[in-house]
């Protein structure tokens, strides 16, 4: 319709612009005009069809957008949560650990000259045995608190002991980088100490941990820790403990032991990260801390050394990690170093001795270990560790100190360890470890074949 009007007006306009024309010119002009008209009609037709295509495309696009919007809506459909009574149960995980151990000397003969051994400081059983079987339950209690309990079961002289390793609550986002923890927990003193045994890179504790803490430092108390609002990680904290168990002791009715710690760490590029820590532990009123006894042949009663006095430990730890592109799942490397220094002042009494033997005691023990672990393939890790201890203890009666195991007998305890691990998945690990242990005079070659499995909820791992 529009086209004809357009063409007509074009023709009209053309005819009016040439009012005077000869007759023979008129026919040729008409011819030209007809051609022009045809030309225009064709062009307009083409335009029309293009418009139609464009319109079609637009509606097509609109329906497509609608389709997408519909899929968006569909894909955002709320998920149906499982509504069962169990859904609020705490996350539960179970750690199964077992080992075969072979020693060239009887584990009962083990000693660490210069150190009074307490807690779980022995070598463990020879042959096939179960390690710690741990049950960990944890959950957010409400919007303000998190709680966790760790129960460990282990065999001790033919019976199964149940040990409450951890039972603590912790604030969740208290604000300003402050976190408060209360209950029984692994102290933040030292790098390895906060990690559960099953997360360690070797089957046994470093010698210095064995010498100072038995195995690990855990106690009942309160921890406050603060993270500074800085780009570099900076953490400051303190703990107040009951202090009634090794390496403290006695019932003070108050704070029996306390710690203070500072950690600083960060990344260097994307492949390297590090953590440096300084720690202090102190117990001022240790009253009757007993340690491993010393049985004389023919005597029925075991004379047990008991310490009363004060004790201080300072320590430094450093951890460095590397992973290509910062992607540890394929390959990674970890170096770890810790140094501890303990000073004690007080009295050593040999319990059950007749007449009662006692001596003043001025103790100084220190030690360090360094270890490196390389995961060279996703499922394989190898590691090396070296331990060394030193002590210089003095007292009024050197004989009593010797009896208490506090004379280092001129020996420097050392240990070389190597291990290889196979990790079929992130929940299982099989480890073969060899130690050349020179804790005391007799060099002991130790071999461990250990499995560690974690069942249940997927735990998070400490740095």
């Amino acid at each position: 319709m529009r086209t004809t009007i357009l063409a007509a007006s074009v023709a009209l306009a053309l005819s009016y612009s040439h009012p005077v024309l000869a007759a023979n010119d008129l026919s040729s002009l008409k011819e030209q005009l007809d051609q022009l008209k045809l030309n225009y009609e064709q062009r307009i037709q083409a335009l029309e069809s293009r418009l139609k295509v464009a319109e079609n495309n637009a509606t097509h696009a609109k329906t497509k957008v609608k389709q997408i919007e519909e899929t968006v809506k569909k894909s955002s459909a709320p998920q149906t949560a499982l509504k069962t009574q169990n859904s609020f149960n705490p996350a539960i995980s179970l750690i199964l650990d077992g080992r075969y151990a072979s020693f060239s000397h009887k584990p009962g003969e083990y000693e660490l000259p210069g150190f009074a051994l307490g807690g779980e400081s022995g070598l463990g059983e020879e042959g096939i045995s179960l390690g710690h079987t741990e049950i960990v339950a944890s959950a957010n209690i409400d919007d303000k608190f998190y709680g966790q309990a760790t129960i460990a079961l282990h065999d001790h002289e033919g019976s199964t002991d149940i040990e409450l390793e951890e039972a603590f609550i912790q604030t969740l986002g208290l604000g300003n980088g402050v976190t408060v923890k209360a209950g029984r927990f692994l102290s933040a003193m030292g790098y390895l100490n906060e990690q559960h045994e099953h997360a360690w890179d070797f089957a046994d504790a470093p010698l210095i941990y064995r010498g100072l803490f038995g195995s690990q430092l855990l106690d009942d108390g309160l921890q406050i820790n603060y993270i500074a609002p800085t780009d570099t990680f900076l953490q400051l904290g303190a703990e107040a403990f009951k202090g009634s168990s090794f390496p403290a002791g006695g019932e003070s009715g108050n704070v029996g032991a306390w710690t203070a710690f500072a950690n600083i760490g960060g990344d260097i590029g994307i492949e390297h990260s590090w953590l440096l820590g300084l720690n202090h532990w102190q117990a001022n009123d240790i009253d009757g801390r007993t340690s491993g006894g010393h049985q004389h042949e023919g005597e029925e009663e075991v004379e047990t050394p008991s310490f009363t006095g004060k004790s201080k430990i300072n320590s430094l730890d450093f951890v460095y990690k590397w992973a290509p592109n910062g992607n540890p799942s394929q390959q990674n490397f970890k170096f770890q170093f810790e140094y501890f220094d303990r000073r004690e002042e007080g009295v050593i009494t040999m319990l059950n001795s007749d007449p009662l033997e006692a001596t003043s005691y001025d103790g100084h023990q220190n030690g360090w270990y360094a270890q490196a672990v390389h995961q060279f393939k996703p499922q394989w890790r190898v590691g090396l560790r070296y331990d060394q201890l030193d002590s210089s203890n003095s007292g009024a009666d050197a004989d009593i100190l010797e009896e208490a195991g506090l004379d280092n007998e001129g020996h420097t305890p050392k240990r070389y360890s190597a291990m290889v691990e196979w990790l079929p998945s992130e929940f299982s690990r099989i480890r073969l470890q060899f130690n050349r242990d020179q804790s005391y005079d007799n060099t002991d070659n130790q071999l461990f074949l250990q499995y560690t499995y974690s069942l249940g909820s997927h735990g998070s791992h400490q740095y």
Binding site: V72, S75, A77, L172, G177, T230, D231, K321, S425, H458
Partner: protein, 301 residues
């Protein structure tokens, strides 16, 4: 003496750290993966200070709660993560250590992308003998642009909630993003028609949403079970099936080891293709999707 020395040094250190700390003006965003950093940047732009916890070369399943991440989480006002147990090995620990109330679960600053979309691959049986499966479903939703749009809507809403002063700007940015994104989806859909039904082999089942969107047909997985590295026996067993019905390509993410893919490629003649699982640093989502699709389309030529 020593204590005094240590104390003095610590105080000095702290003051130094504070000094070296620049002033932050924008909303502090902690993005677990690069895709959320890119999306947040589209939706918040100059109003946000975004920190990305991982790069696209890192496997988001296996990140360690490094001290630097704790320090960043401590200051964050908004946390944007995938969820569905992808970060289960490190995020809960970061949150607990951060002492930061803004980003704890349930708070406005705790944004978990998978909470807002439906998930594929929801397992019927939860048993670890089936591998490291995610109970909630496949978490890698960022590979579906349609789901991304839905997440963008929610994320923009969260930004408005946390920073109401700039709400009109966030609205505008969302509108712009939506327009652009819908347009891109149309273009991508048209361009990738030829990929429909094409058989592919993947390393890990982390491409599910892309496959679903493009209509690709996954015929084999290099990992015998999710999270278990490829074994030679499993790879050998794949050869026979692939000989009968060959696939077009073996796809693996840039953070995955290429050995298994290369080995299978050699045996079967199927080409391998390394795809960036997430946008690179400062890369936009559009650019990254374009890159992925171009790489896939190139194989057809």
């Amino acid at each position: 003496m020593l204590n005094k020395y240590v104390k003095r040094n610590i105080i000095l250190l702290i003051s130094l750290l504070f000094l070296s700390n620049p002033l932050y003006a924008g909303l502090q965003v902690f993005a677990c993966e690069p895709e959320w950093a890119s999306l947040a940047n589209e939706l918040g732009g100059e109003h946000l200070d975004i920190y990305t916890a991982t790069t696209n070369q890192q496997d988001p399943h296996h990140i360690q709660a490094r001290p630097s991440l704790v320090a960043k989480a401590r200051r964050a006002e908004l946390l944007v993560c995938t969820g569905a147990e992808l970060e289960v090995g490190w995020l809960p620990l970061l949150l607990r250590k951060s002492g930061n109330p803004n980003i704890q679960a349930g708070q406005a600053g705790y944004f978990i992308a998978t909470d807002y979309v439906s998930l594929l691959d929801q397992p019927i049986v939860l048993d670890r003998s089936l591998g490291d499966i995610h109970a909630a479903g496949n978490p890698h939703v960022h590979l579906d642009p349609v789901r991304l749009q839905q997440i963008a809507n929610k994320l923009s809403h969260t930004l408005t909630k946390l920073d109401p002063a700039n709400s009109s700007d966030y609205e505008k940015k969302l509108e712009l993003f939506t327009q652009h994104w819908q347009n891109m989806i149309l273009q991508w859909t048209e361009r990738t028609q030829s990929l429909k039904g094409k058989p592919i082999v993947v390393y890990h089942k982390n491409w599910t949403y892309l496959q679903h969107w493009l209509g690709l047909n996954q015929v084999a997985v290099l990992e015998p079970k999710p999270g278990i590295p490829p074994t030679s026996s499993h790879l050998s067993s794949l050869i026979l099936g692939l000989e009968k019905s060959p696939a077009q390509v073996i796809v693996y993410a840039n953070y995955q080891d290429n050995k298994a893919a290369n080995w299978l490629s050699k045996k079967t003649g199927i080409p391998t293709l390394e795809l960036a699982f997430s946008p690179a640093k400062d890369e936009t989502l559009t650019h990254w999707f374009d890159r992925l699709l171009n790489q896939l389309l190139k194989l057809q030529e």
